[in-house]
Symmetry: C2
Amino acid sequence: MKLAELSTRSGVSIATIKYWIRAGILPAGVKRNATTADYTDRHLARLNLIHLLRDDLDTPIDEIRELTHLIDTHAPNTRIMEKSQCLALRLTHPPQNQDSSEHQRVRAISEQLGWPDVPSWAREELVVVLRRLGDKGLNVDNDYLLEHARAFAKVASHNVGYALTAREPDELAIQVIRGVRLSRDLENAISALAHTSHSLSR
Amino acid sequence: MKLAELSTRSGVSIATIKYWIRAGILPAGVKRNATTADYTDRHLARLNLIHLLRDDLDTPIDEIRELTHLIDTHAPNTRIMEKSQCLALRLTHPPQNQDSSEHQRVRAISEQLGWPDVPSWAREELVVVLRRLGDKGLNVDNDYLLEHARAFAKVASHNVGYALTAREPDELAIQVIRGVRLSRDLENAISALAHTSHSLSR
């Protein structure tokens, strides 16, 4: 399709599309001649992804570029999914190969659950939260972590399976971002209701 | 204590303290004479609460006032706790006494869990999230909701009990806000790790 059609179908203005191409987050169309280029459904999917990240999540262009770079360099799905998760949840602690007591705990729990022992943004986030809790003298026992991890394991397995039905990587990223946020909102709402209900029952 | 001491002990400038008094979120001190007023530990606790809401949560003054008004008019603990939870989680959907299919579902689940059937901000949040999921064709079954609700019920019961050890209402609000946010961060981190682990295991 031509640029004008891409703009109409995506609802993104031509000026914005050109800006995103210059910013390196949207591949240029294939030149047909000096003034015309061809765009495909891949461009449309990319525009949906950028739109989701920009408008719903306020993601800075530089971080969007980290994700689109993975997609455009054919990185494995697991890396695209992890980066999408990072952006959706704003995970900010890069994976560390450390051996703090919190790392050891998370490793021990992962082993019990049969989860891989690999540094990740999510693992680091859990380490940081456990450390913050410990600093406040609020210690969470392993049974608590295991019970919640088991509850989340089922939905995680389902969500990952669903995301992987995506036919191409931009759609995969979109499904992960949407799924992660909806799951999080749902969990937080259930938790909030549990707290309200217990406070009302006293 | 005098204003200067309140400022030193709280780390809040005299100008800011005076502004918060004018804004109606901090009670004035008890006048000793024309130029001096006395402040107590209650003022100190209030300053900690305002500080937490302003600096960590960016809560607008008007919303802080809704909470401090409840405290200053001796509202029941349950209302102080619910308002604190609302602010901590930024719940934005006021309780409705409606009978939508989502309300019916949440009611049915609450009944199974022995939770009170009362409109609340948290219940409305869950209703809205379920509706949003339904709109996207992502239907969550009741077993899922029940399993997660049961996992959260234990920690909710513990958290509510802990918050209620507070000796006075400003401290109660602080403990609820801190607890709600830490619990949420912990749950979200466990969920993120579950998702990463399942995506890596494929």
